[in-house]
Symmetry: C2
Subunit: 204 residues, 2 copies
């Protein structure tokens, strides 16, 4: 059994090495530009070896998307579970996203890039994890509306608007030299969404 465990550990290590190499390549060249040869070179193994650990390119890339964003998903999941008020929740979620991608900007390309073509499974807007996030965000808004914490609007639409708007800001934050602090970016989102932009209302 010890052997089995050992094997398992080694395999797990290899898998992780390959995933990390893949992430770096995707960060550099995008999904479409990332060839199996590039990935093998980056991982310092032969191309054939990749196929001992992953059935095909599709499976490898899916695995990378899935595992690399696990930390962020966990963190955001905890916020949802905590059932704070909308303002705290929203602030926490947006902050988590900004912080995560600020320290893992490699991963942002993985997250953001909409892989070309009809391959919609790796398209953010169709990805089950992203959809799940939208659903939970919408549910949160809905609950807040029922409680009277927010005025009534379309919660699903709102979730999309906020989520996509935030991603847009992260793109700029990551690629555009981080001119603004995370805190300011987050307040822009939270402030706009909650208080709006018309003058004459300060916080609560």
């Amino acid at each position: 059994m010890a052997t089995t465990t050992r094997r398992h550990a080694i395999e797990e290590f290899r898998l992780q090495t390959i995933r990390e190499a893949t992430t770096r390549v995707v960060a550099r060249l995008g999904f479409a530009g990332a060839t199996m040869q590039h990935i093998a070179d980056e991982a310092q193994i032969a191309k054939g070896t990749l196929y001992l650990y992953f059935k095909d390119k599709e499976e490898l890339l899916d695995s990378v998307v899935d595992s690399s964003l696990q930390t962020l998903r966990d963190e955001v999941g905890r916020v949802f579970e905590a059932k704070l008020g909308v303002e705290e929740s929203l602030r926490a979620i947006v902050t988590a996203q900004f912080s995560f991608f600020e320290t893992h900007s490699d991963l942002f390309r993985v997250y953001h890039e909409v892989s070309g073509a009809g391959n919609s499974r790796r398209n953010r807007d169709c990805h089950p994890h992203f959809q799940d996030f939208l659903d939970r965000l919408a549910a949160m808004f809905k609950r807040a509306m029922a409680k009277g914490e927010l005025r009534r609007t379309n919660p699903e639409g709102l979730a999309i608007f906020v989520a996509e708007g935030t991603i847009g800001l992260i793109v700029r934050h990551i690629s555009g030299g981080r001119k603004t602090s995370v805190k300011d970016e987050v307040e822009l989102v939270v402030g706009t969404v909650l208080q709006g932009l018309l003058p004459g209302r300060r916080s609560e």
Copy 2:
């Protein structure tokens, strides 16, 4: 000279035919899935003919992106030039985008799709026209802030947030069966951005 003009007209017609065929193919298969052969078939000409009108695939696709969105750009441009108040401008711009893509949903894929890989020129976030739009939107917000029509925040960030959020809503509107009316979608954006979501403020 008459001949020259005639030639020119014929060439222009061919160019347009090819662009339209390309648009349809891209709408169906995405940028990456659109091969020159597909495009040629759709336009009912030989593949070689495409190369008489466009240097290469790159130039063809760029040309399509450019020309297909001209109408929308013109319309939005007029709104900016009209120098209305923020609320009217914002409503007009968002409405224009929704309406345009509702009637030309083919073109939305062209607009939205971020072509794979390192080819960043056809990535919306890097496209000069989109950047120009963001700049003008930001300038509009800035002016409104100076006039006291909006409270002060980061206008560039705001422009990104609103623009990307709106695109997200359009994606759903187009691909998700248009469950909501354009008017409602627009009011969601305008209402959220201007009044925010906290209860207790009705319009102005």
